[in-house]
Amino acid sequence: MIQFENVGFRYGNGPDVLQGLNFEIPEGEFTFITGSSGAGKSSLLRLLYLDSLPTAGRISLFERDLATLTRDEVAWFRRRIGVVFQDFRLLDHLTAAENVALPLRVSGAREAEYRDNVAEMLHWVGLGEQMNVHPPQLSGGEKQRVAIARAVVASPDIILADEPTGSVDPEMAERIMQLLMEMNRLGKTVVLATHDIDMVSRTGKSRLNLKAGTLTASGDAA
């Protein structure tokens, strides 16, 4: 499903932030991307959610080379990918519910079709009472959960999460992990970037470890 072949990436004319990446993530896999800050985890995810193209090598997603996609195809691919951004990227002028509904509205669904789904998703992340609250009135952890609900509401094939437990207390972190594991059990491919090695070890899922933009280890965390 996700295939990297000798992938390299740099921002503008800067130094390589990723280089020589070769790996494959099969469909339905739960994969951690680990590494210290600046190792290139977020840049790798950025390539996966099609925000940038690699400056070297080839990335295949859903059996398609990402470099060959048209603009409309890029949009269509993005709808099949749910992303939890490290900085949440919630729209402040929308309510929590509207933020969660964003991928559905963008894909052309009508409100009547998704209203219940959005409410259920917000209850699922424990924010059923804050549906009509705007992001500036939410705590960091609550924003994180809204972002997670938004990432999964459209039932994407792939869920990408960049440090999804970084802004929450341990109890909520555990709950978020359970949510993502549940999505994985439902058949979704989950790719999660984190520097929390303990959490990776506890789950026993496979991981890709980055160091200075290169892959240093891959395989089961255990």
Binding site: Y49, R89, R115
Partner: protein, 287 residues
């Protein structure tokens, strides 16, 4: 569930666009009214003059009365002439009244003899041929089918119409320009939100559509405001009896509201198309 626009409405900018669109729509209405009025006025003048001609027998002629009979014979035997009658003294006096005051003494004036000629508008006689016949039989008689005046009226109407169309074009360009500027500034201000929409899978046309909806409403409000004010101003203008008497051709006909509705529709389309193209272009350039 509450449903807000995915693009936040920035207070102030929308009002400014609406007011500028309203001002341009207002001017466009007056330009269109000017074009229509000039066309109508020129039409009224040329209609009034077509079907009529005059023959003037100069007062300097030694026997204008003798010439008159010859002229009438020639005219009545000319194909396309329906009738030819000399003006009475009273009628000639009425024509001279603006220059010489009421009841001028014609016997004291070298007034010409005027023959009013009624011609068939569908079969107008050739001016040059009529004049040649008059020259041969009654020297000094001048045939005038008002062609020069009609030509001047038509060219004046064309000039006014061209200026009015130009003014409407300028209004359209101004509306498009203000929409483009406003959309550019909106896209810059909303860069992060639009990036989020696109990462959520929004296609370019979806984002364009959001702006088109927004500018549909701004265009509608601006168009209604501008055209409404223009219509009210024109009816108010024509309610003043001095104006309506002096320029009857500029009185609003019953179908003007249809034309104003057309301007509103055009303004809305212009706003939507300008916004849509600006967004698409900027997104393609990587905004």
């Amino acid at each position: 569930m509450k449903r807000n626009s995915l693009i936040p409405v920035r207070a102030g900018s929308g009002l400014l666009v609406t007011l500028i669109v309203a001002a341009m729509a207002f001017l466009a209405c007056f330009a269109m009214a000017g074009a229509l009025g000039a066309t109508k006025l020129a039409g009224a003048w040329t209609d009034g003059l077509s079907g009529a001609a005059t023959v003037r027998i100069g007062a300097e002629e030694t026997a204008p009365e003798e010439h008159l009979d010859i002229v009438l014979d020639i005219l009545k035997s000319t194909d396309g002439v329906i009738d030819a009658e000399p003006l009475t003294e009273e009628e000639v006096a009425a024509l001279l009244e603006p220059w010489f005051g009421a009841t001028p003494e014609l016997s004291d004036l070298p007034a010409p003899v005027i023959v009013a000629v009624t011609i068939d508008p569908l079969n107008e006689p050739d001016t040059a041929i009529v004049q040649a016949r008059l020259d041969g039989a009654a020297a000094g008689a001048v045939y005038d089918d008002h062609g020069e005046w009609r030509g001047r009226a038509a060219s004046a109407a064309r000039a006014v119409r061209s200026v009015a169309i130009g003014a409407m074009l300028v209004c359209a360009i101004a509306i498009a320009a203000v929409v483009v500027l406003s959309v550019h500034s909106g896209l810059s201000a909303q860069h992060a939100n639009i990036a989020t929409l696109r990462l959520a899978g929004a296609e370019d046309r979806f984002v364009s559509g959001l702006y088109q909806v927004r500018y549909f409403w701004l265009g509608l409000c601006g168009g209604l405001l501008g055209c409404g004010l223009a219509l009210a101003a024109m009816y108010g203008f024509n309610a003043m009896s001095t104006v309506s008497r002096a320029l009857p051709a500029l009185q609003p006909p019953s179908y003007w509201w249809v034309m104003f509705a057309g301007i509103i529709v055009f303004v809305i389309m212009l706003c939507m198309v300008s916004a849509g193209l600006t967004v698409s272009g900027k997104l393609r350039r990587g905004a």
